[in-house]
């Protein structure tokens, strides 16, 4: 057991990383408060916490991206200043970011040598890197074609390039920030094999995640963060998921949402053989067939990037497609690119988009203008044929914000100044209150705090209970399992299969998400 080995070392070996009393504030927000941890060499240490708990800030400090306001960093027992990434690299720290830091039109080799070239000329550096990469690939199962352009690689391979970059820089401490967010379960398993291999070679690994399963599966020790503070550090074998979940959110969490059985009615949404090709000529939807009935929630599970976003864009009226979509029996026009959002809304389709900052809100507009966003043509907002009724818009916004408990309840405040959860409440209030026949919901609780999650889930179920159809897209399997009345899994632009939530489990869905079709019965 690896755990036994590290315990034996503890007495004699200095920790690979030790943080003492790290604090960091961004303006009035205290992102990290007096944080201390110590990680033994040759172990995998997990850091778990909700979105916004301060995990990423802490790791950015360790990687020289931000400067801590207070505190010390010790690497292998020696106090080390890390003013920039260069210093972090010198100290042997490598980082694999959640959003890869790769130059897309460069080859793997060029990306690997960037910043650590051996001389002014490229040729010798490339030759040297080609050799080392081969050695690293053999040693750690890190196979990637060194001459391939990044833009032609899949996410799994891109992540391996990031790890290779760190190893080529001779990192012996590797930080991975939410590494499995974009991976299928199979790719995640491959990653964990790599990480295990690295640990066996004596590398120290810090794994940042919000997924309890990963912590339990691979880490030796785990630290829990909540609201900028480190609430606990425990040995993984001495804890369990329930305890960690509680430490994470600060109270007992309901893993299932209370709801009565669905009473499906007529088909509200009926999709037949839907195809969609994006701006780069890539086919994103490859013949989708789906329907959603009144009074039910259809959940679409899948790793992000498998066509869910494109499906929502087509339904929301801002991407063109071919095939057939009927709403309440009437076909809708799929040819108009970019500009059909208004007619979709008039047909009773409301849409809580996946990315509220990019799509759902105008961040610099005050809340009251955002509450009208997309519905600004509707009668209630007009004063006369030419002008809008700004006063009424503010009143309506105030009313919605009060009823949806948006804090602070100030219609004049710009959207960017609300927290993620409150931003999402503004979007949900706007869309649900329209009393739509069909609600499209993408990632309803991404970056939203626990309290708001419950509230938003209740709103969605409430709409269903009023006999409306809901199409839910989420990459969080738990969310899909607890909200949906039926579950469809998307992979590579296809619907891989449909299941009832009480007749399936994460394993079966995980296989479908990886593109593996059912066990012989299909």
């Amino acid at each position: 057991m690896v755990g036994a080995k590290t315990e034996g070392q503890q007495a004699t070996v200095a920790p690979a990383i030790e943080l003492r009393g790290i604090s960091k504030a961004f303006g009035p927000v205290q992102a990290n408060k007096d944080i201390s941890i110590s990680v033994q060499p040759g172990t995998i240490h997990g850091i778990i916490g909700e979105n916004g708990a301060g995990k990423s800030t802490l790791m950015s400090i360790l990687y020289g991206f931000y400067k801590a306001d207070e505190g010390q960093i010790f690497i292998h027992g020696k106090e080390t200043q890390i003013p920039d990434s260069q210093a972090a690299i010198r100290a042997g720290i490598g980082m694999v970011f959640q959003h890869f830091k790769l130059v897309e039109n460069f080859s793997v080799l060029e990306n690997v040598i960037l910043g650590v070239e051996d001389g002014a000329m490229l040729r010798p550096s490339l030759a040297k890197a080609r050799k080392s990469l081969k050695a690293l690939a053999d040693e750690y199962e890190l196979h990637v074609d060194p001459e391939a352009l990044i833009e032609n690689l899949g996410v799994g391979s891109q992540q391996r390039v990031e790890i290779l970059k760190a190893l080529y820089r001779e990192a012996d401490i590797l930080i991975l920030d939410e590494p499995t967010g974009v991976l299928t379960p199979a790719e995640a398993d491959h990653l964990f094999r790599i990480l295990n291999g690295l640990r066996d070679q004596g590398k120290t690994i810090i794994l940042i995640t919000h997924k309890l399963r990963e912590i339990m599966e691979i880490t030796n020790t785990v630290s829990v963060m909540r609201r900028g503070e480190m609430t606990a550090t425990v040995k993984t074998k001495d804890t369990n998921p329930e305890e960690l979940a509680e430490l994470m959110v600060g109270r007992k969490v309901l893993l299932r949402v209370d709801k009565v059985p669905a009473q499906p009615g007529e088909k509200v949404l009926d999709i037949k053989d839907l195809h969609m090709v994006d701006d780069h000529g890539v086919e994103r939807l490859k013949g989708i067939n789906l329907n959603v009935r009144a009074g039910e929630i259809l959940g679409i599970a899948g790793v992000s990037g498998n066509g869910q976003s494109e499906l929502m864009e087509v339904l929301g009226g801002y991407a063109s497609a071919t095939g057939e979509i009927r709403v309440n029996g009437d076909p809708i026009d799929l040819t108009g690119k970019y500009s059909d959002g208004r007619s979709r809304r008039e047909r009773g389709i409301a849409h809580v988009p996946e990315d509220r900052q990019e799509h759902g809100l105008i961040m610099n507009f005050p809340a009251w203008q955002n509450v009208a966003f997309g519905y600004h043509h509707s009668e209630e907002y007009q004063k006369n044929a030419l002008l809008m009724d700004n006063k009424k818009m503010v009143e309506i916004a105030q009313d919605k914000m009060d009823r949806f408990d948006v804090r602070p309840p100030l219609p004049g405040l710009a959207a960017k100044n609300f927290s993620g959860g409150n931003q999402q409440k503004i979007v949900v209030a706007r869309e649900i209150e329209r009393n739509p026949d069909l609600l499209l919901v993408g990632q309803p609780t991404r970056g939203v705090d626990i309290g708001a999650i419950e509230f938003i889930h209740k709103q969605i179920i409430g709409l269903r209970d009023q006999g409306k159809a809901v199409l839910l897209v989420s990459v969080e399997l738990e969310e899909i399992l607890s909200l949906s009345d039926r579950i469809a899994v998307m992979f590579d632009g296809h619907i891989m299969g449909e299941h009832l939530p009480d007749q399936t489990d994460e394993r079966e869905l995980g296989l479908l998400m990886a593109g593996v079709t059912g066990e012989g019965d299909r």
């Binding site: 970019y338 990019e358 961040m363 030419l386």
Partner: protein, 368 residues
């Protein structure tokens, strides 16, 4: 939570930006061997010292209100329209054609001629903005470069027309025939005389000033109270979110640019119809470019544009006087214009960051 009070954002920072630009302009004057304070006094005297000076100052102000509003509408849609100069030139062509070729029976009074001229100027200006707008919307051709090219093309076109087809044969210079008398707009002298206010007869300020002021109100209502304005602003802030909301980028780009071009074109009722009363080669005199500085300084708000236009009206008239009474050429105004754009537009953060820090520090001290 905002980092600083609103007044600091809309008044203090622009003031500081401007101050830096003017101090540097003063240094430029000093560097070429003149006394900046004396130069300033000459400018103030020349611009405000007489109703003659006021007449020119307000004439230029009128030009800059139009071009400033034009640039600001495009800015709101995140378009940088540098083509105001060309659009105003071609707008002038429209105004000129209306004045020269609409039969006298249809234009019994200057008010009617003005309506015709405004329609023609707006259509021509908008038309000149249409191609860059279309290319931006449909082909992704950067509107900054295409509008600059259209300025050059407009100059060539006007040169061709005023040396060729539209040239008054008997005249030496490149200019059209004079417009019919009925199209001549009342000057401020004529407007104010019945009220018992005496105003210089020879100054060019005319009723277009009131059209410009009305245009400020119209643009304010359009941008802040109408659905179109809402869509333009939404698109300018976030094209991706606008698409989600069913706002067509193509439509907004083209409409915003054409509105911008139309308002630039309207400038010609002041310059071409009100002042020159015939088509000449350089009626616009760089006003299209000054619109950029005016819009930036006015924070793209019609009221701010009005104030900034007045300031530049003063600078322009003062600068002309200065070039008469000193060795400082009129190009000084171009230098000031460049510095104002630089400091209010591109180097805004240079002032904003320290001021923000100051307010945060002050707020912390208060908390403590």
């Amino acid at each position: 939570m905002d980092k600083m009070p609103k007044w600091a954002d809309i008044a203090l920072i622009p003031f500081l930006n401007l101050l830096i630009a003017f101090v540097l302009s003063g240094l430029v004057i000093f560097a070429i061997g003149e006394n900046p304070f004396k130069a300033l006094m000459t400018m103030i005297d020349g611009a405000f010292g007489s109703t003659y000076g006021w007449g020119y100052t307000l004439y230029y102000t009128t030009n800059f209100i139009f071009t400033g509003l034009a640039v600001s509408i495009a800015f709101k849609a995140a378009m940088f329209n540098i083509g105001g100069e060309g659009q105003a030139m071609i707008g002038g062509l429209g105004v000129g054609i209306a004045c020269l070729f609409i039969p006298a029976v249809l234009m019994p009074h200057w008010t009617i001629a003005l309506v015709f001229a405004m329609i023609a100027g707006a259509i021509f200006g908008a038309g000149w903005a249409l191609i860059p707008a279309y290319l931006q919307a449909k082909r992704g051709s950067h509107v900054v470069i295409t509008t600059i090219m259209f300025n050059f093309i407009a100059t060539a076109l006007m040169g061709y027309l005023l040396i060729g087809p539209l040239k008054l044969k008997s005249a030496q210079e490149s200019a059209s025939a004079s417009f019919p008398d009925v199209t001549n707009l009342p000057t401020l002298h004529e407007v104010l005389a019945p009220l018992g206010i005496s105003f210089s007869k020879s100054a060019p300020a005319n009723v277009s000033l009131f059209i410009a002021l009305a245009m400020c109100v119209v643009v304010y209502l359009l941008m802040n109270r109408s659905r179109l304005g809402y869509e333009i602003r939404a698109f300018g802030e976030s094209p991706t979110a606008s698409v989600y909301a069913g706002i067509s980028p193509t439509k907004i780009i083209i409409i915003a640019m054409m509105l911008s071009g139309a308002i630039s074109g309207l400038m010609a009722i002041n310059a071409t119809m009100g002042q020159h009363e015939r088509l000449i080669l350089n009626a616009v005199e760089g006003a299209g470019f000054i619109g950029i500085a005016v819009a930036l300084m006015g924070r793209n708000h019609p009221f701010g544009v009005l104030l900034a236009a007045l300031l530049f009206g003063f600078l322009y008239q003062g600068g002309s006087e200065l070039s008469l009474w000193s060795k400082i050429p009129r190009e000084l105004i171009v230098v000031i214009q460049g510095l104002v754009i630089l400091f209010t537009g591109a180097l805004d953060n240079m002032v904003r960051m320290p001021v923000e820090r100051m307010f945060i520090a002050a707020a912390k001290r208060k908390d403590a």
